[in-house]
């Protein structure tokens, strides 16, 4: 199978690496910014989830292209039979966390920058492992 983490951008014009970097910039702005931390955190969460989605889609493209049409949970649940189960489960957990953070819930507080920063690390780690772990 071919490398995926650095696959070409299928949508939005950004590669997954660029998405992760953009998220990092949102979390740690190099200069002054007018955006509030809460807004930046949510935006970063959206970028990170997109990175996970696109990487996974790119992965399934190489395995079985029709999988990209199946629902998110299926893509996640099937993954553990193709890659290390612990990575697949972690993927699911992080993806779920990011998904919850992306949506506006009236009853839930927006994600904190620290939480999203933690996810940022998780996502980078997952992308690295998936790229390296294809045997």
């Amino acid at each position: 199978m071919t490398g995926l983490a650095h696959s070409s951008a299928p949508s939005g014009g950004l590669s997954t690496n660029a998405l992760v970097t953009a998220a990092d910039h949102l979390l740690n702005p190099p200069g002054s910014t007018t955006l509030t931390p809460g807004v930046r955190a949510r935006a970063a969460a959206i970028l990170l989830r997109l990175a996970l989605d696109e990487t996974l889609d790119a992965y399934w493209q190489t395995v079985s292209p029709r999988m990209t049409r199946s629902n998110g949970r299926t893509r996640m649940l099937c993954l553990q039979w193709y890659i290390a189960p612990s990575v697949a489960r972690q993927w699911y957990a992080v993806w779920s966390g990011l998904s919850a953070a992306c949506h506006h819930h009236t009853y839930e507080l927006p994600p904190t920058p620290a939480e999203v920063r933690a996810w940022h690390q998780d996502v980078s780690e997952l992308l690295r492992v998936l790229a390296a772990g294809k045997t």
Partner: protein, 798 residues
């Protein structure tokens, strides 16, 4: 480790401890007596159910059924559903106490009864003991019922197979171990674990490390050392006081005692000699007085009597000499001669002397014989008087004994008087002797009496001063001897304590390490992404400074734990300390009950918590009560196995507990979701569905195998080992069907017999799936899941 084991270890180390024989004996003596632990049940205890009625949020009796063995159980329910009431009921049943109620006011303590159902509140748990032999397989029920209004007015009943066993609660559950390992963590205590003084936490953890025997021994040693030091100090103080007292006493012995006490090390022998009256002072001064006091002068009365005798004898002798006695003797001689002459010349009657004739006739002869006899008697008297005088003189001479030799040195004048008396021995003339003896004796007796009285008076005076001093000195001696004996013992105790400290440090480090490692691991799982990091926790300091060190740093800068941690992080820290304690290898409690650990945790921590719980559920029965769905979702997303129950509360406190999911339904749900996805490519389905279905069947057989092994009386740890060992499904199925070790063919036949041939084919297919990607398509995917579900349900229902 039990006290006995630690005692054995300590005694085994003793010979090579480098301690002297005396020190080793001291240590043995200081070891507290071994205590036997009793209990009718043995082995790890697991919880089979929790029941409550009329208790807090629960009205009519409601029960949470648990699987008594390692595994994770989640009891979910909204706030106020009664789930916490169950957690508290379990704790209350076993401890009669609960953190929530501790230190609360009366008002709080009155709110424990259910509002709707308050006539006969009751809480209870069913417990399974791993180590119980046959007959003990039945779970033990502990019920707590109330007989009064107060929360503490309760009693427990222990039942087995529906009958009271007559046991007390503490026969079933060791209260001390319950406090030690505390397998209950209510939400309210999450904050308190580290809000309390760190000294207390230090003590609690130290107690888990099971080194109380060492600290108890050290406490005993310290107490003994203190007593010894007090003895020494008291002796020192007393020495000063006694010296002060002695120097005011005018007595040679007191002066000697002061010298004996004043040296660097007091002269005990000298003091002992002084007290017994054998001292130098005694020899020189007092013994002279004592001799004089006991001086015996010549007996005046005897002398007087002898002198009188002498005088009378002298008078009698004088009379004899000057009177007729001597004349008579001479005349007797003459007359005897005349008579002899008459006898030789009987016919002659003339006197040859004067010449007269006819006078010396017969009549003369008769007359003269009679005169001679009379004269002879007179002469004998004179002889006797002479002898008596000689005897009287000798008696007086004999009475004149010389004085004792020492008298010359002690009392020269008295000795001179005495010599004057003895000079009498040279006097022979009776009258002179009598005069001299009488006078000298009288003078000497007077002088002796005076000297003796004087000596006695002086002795009495000295003794009067000495007696109280001697009593003090004697008391000092006792104290000083005790202090002297204490000195080497103090040294021994010091050596013993030093060795104990080394041993304690070594064992504490060794035993604390796994604990600290576990805490660190839990913290990392919970707070992997936190900016706050926790270093190696430790038991630091001694005495009042002892505490649990929690080296916390924020972005690599050291910080105080409580200042920088969020509530969620504090709770994580509490869990990191609580879980290793509750699941300590020496704990007899196989279960741990945690109430609402999820509150105030952010999503990353909930995932970590799920992993932690799963980790400990591998060898412990972990029961978690939680009010939201986040933990349940995290468990399911992470593919961890758990049994989930939901608690709901209808009006009038009617509480219902419904099973929601278990590892079988979890696996089936996932397989079904995948199979039902219309866009699932067949080749992916062929690859993923068989192993997913296999997981469901495996989980079902695992549960069944656990039941079978439990009924066969196997220990939970062995059961866990057997059912989690990787292997073909047939192996697990064999255990579940009670045919462990049977060949795969026999097992498959048994499955076909019990569940039909399609079940056998399904097992074959699923078994293959775990080993290789199937080369043949598995057919209708939804049908595969349906068949799997049917078999799994049947196996579960066995």
């Amino acid at each position: 480790m039990s006290d006995t084991a630690l005692r054995d270890l300590l005694l085994a180390r003793l010979p090579k401890s480098g301690l002297s024989v005396e020190e080793q004996a001291q240590l043995r003596d200081l070891l507290p007596a071994a205590q036997a632990r009793s209990g009718g049940h043995s082995g790890t205890v697991y919880m089979q159910s929790i029941t409550a009625a009329g208790w807090r949020g629960i009205g009519p009796a409601a029960t949470v059924q648990l699987r008594p063995g390692p595994g994770l159980t989640l009891v979910t329910g909204r706030n106020g559903s009664g789930k916490s009431s169950f957690a508290e009921a379990a704790e209350m049943a076993l401890t009669g106490d609960n953190f929530r109620w501790q230190g609360r006011t009366q008002v709080w303590k009155k709110g424990w009864r259910n509002l709707h159902e308050h006539s006969s509140p009751e809480v209870g748990v069913e417990l399974c003991f791993d180590g119980d032999s046959e007959g003990g397989k039945e779970p033990v029920t502990v019920r707590r019922v109330w007989h009064g209004e107060g929360l503490d007015e309760s009693r427990t009943v222990v039942e087995q197979a529906g009958k009271p066993t007559g046991e007390d609660l503490h026969d079933v559950i060791d209260a001390e171990q319950l406090t030690l390992y505390r397998p209950f963590l209510p939400y309210t205590q999450l904050g308190a674990v580290i809000n309390g003084p760190l000294t207390a936490l230090h003590d609690e953890i130290s107690r888990i490390l099971g080194l109380e025997l060492l600290s108890d021994t050290d406490t005993a040693a310290r107490a003994r050392a203190k007593t010894l030091t007090e003895t020494e100090n008291a002796a020192k103080a007393l020495t000063a006081t006694v010296i002060q007292e002695l120097s005011t006493v005018d007595d040679p012995r007191a002066a000697e005692a002061v010298a004996a006490l004043s040296g660097r090390s007091p002269d005990f022998d000298l003091v002992r000699a002084l007290l017994k009256g054998h001292s130098v002072a005694d020899e020189v001064h007092l013994s002279r007085l004592r001799r004089l006091a006991a001086l015996e002068s010549p007996d005046l009365q005897t002398i007087t009597k002898a002198v009188a005798r002498l005088r009378s004898a002298a008078a009698v002798a004088d009379d004899a000499r000057h009177g007729s006695a001597e004349d008579a003797r001479q005349l007797i001689k003459l007359l005897d001669t005349a008579l002899e002459h008459r006898r030789r010349h009987p016919d002659v009657s003339d006197c040859p002397v004067c010449g007269s004739t006819n006078l010396l006739d017969r009549a003369w002869a008769e007359r003269t014989r009679a005169q001679v006899e009379r004269l002879q008697a007179e002469a004998a008297d004179a002889e006797a008087a002479h002898r008596e005088l000689t005897a009287a003189v000798r008696e007086v001479h004999d009475l004149m004994q010389p004085p004792a030799a020492w008298l010359q040195a002690d009392e020269p004048s008295l000795a001179a008087l005495w010599r004057d008396l003895t000079a009498c021995r040279a006097v022979r003339e009776p009258r002179e002797l009598a005069e001299h003896a009488e006078h000298a004796a009288a003078v000497l007796a007077d002088a002796c009496l005076q000297v003796r009285d004087d000596a006695v008076r002086r002795i009495t005076a000295q003794d009067g001063r000495w007696q109280p001093v001697a009593a003090r000195l004697s008391a000092w001696l006792g104290q000083a001897e005790a202090a002297q004996a204490a000195k080497p013992v103090t040294k021994q105790i010091k050596a013993v304590r030093s060795w104990l400290r080394t041993l304690t440090d070594e064992l504490r480090d060794a035993r604390f390490k796994p604990f600290a490692d576990q805490s660190g691991e839990i913290w990392r799982l919970l707070c992997e992404r936190s900016s706050v990091s926790l270093g190696a926790i430790g038991l630091a300091g001694v005495g009042p400074q002892r505490q649990v060190s929690l080296p916390v740093s924020v972005d690599d800068a050291d910080a105080p734990a409580f200042g920088v941690m969020s509530q969620g992080e504090l709770h994580s820290l509490a869990l990191s300390l609580f879980i290793p304690r509750a699941t300590h290898q020496d704990s007899p409690f196989g279960f741990v009950i945690i109430d609402d650990p999820v509150q105030s945790m952010d999503p990353g921590k909930v995932d970590g918590l799920a992993r932690v719980l799963d980790l400990y559920a591998q060898h412990r029965q972990v029961v978690v009560f939680t009010h939201d769905t986040r933990l349940k979702e995290a468990i399911s997303r992470l593919g961890l196995r758990a049994t989930v129950m939901d608690v709901s509360r209808q009006p009038d406190s009617v509480v219902e507990v419904v099973p929601v999911s278990d590892p079988v339904s979890q696996a089936l749900d996932e397989a079904r979701a995948v199979a039902l996805d219309p866009h699932l490519p067949p080749e992916v389905a062929d690859r993923v569905l068989p192993p997913m279905c296999r997981l469901a069947v495996e989980a079902a057989y695992q549960a069944a195998a656990r039941r079978t092994l439990r009924e066969a009386g196997l220990e939970q740890s062995k059961i866990q080992q057997k059912v989690t060992r990787p292997g073909p499904l047939t192996g697990l199925a064999a255990i579940a069907m009670g045919m462990e070790g049977a060949g795969p063919g026999d097992v498959l036949n048994a499955i076909a017999r019990d569940h039909g041939t399609s079940a056998r084919d399904l097992i074959r297919l699923l078994n293959q799936a775990s080993h290789q990607a199937p080369t043949t398509p598995v057919g209708d995917h939804r049908d595969l899941v349906r068949r799997t579900e049917r078999l799994a349900k049947e196996v579960q229902a066995r």
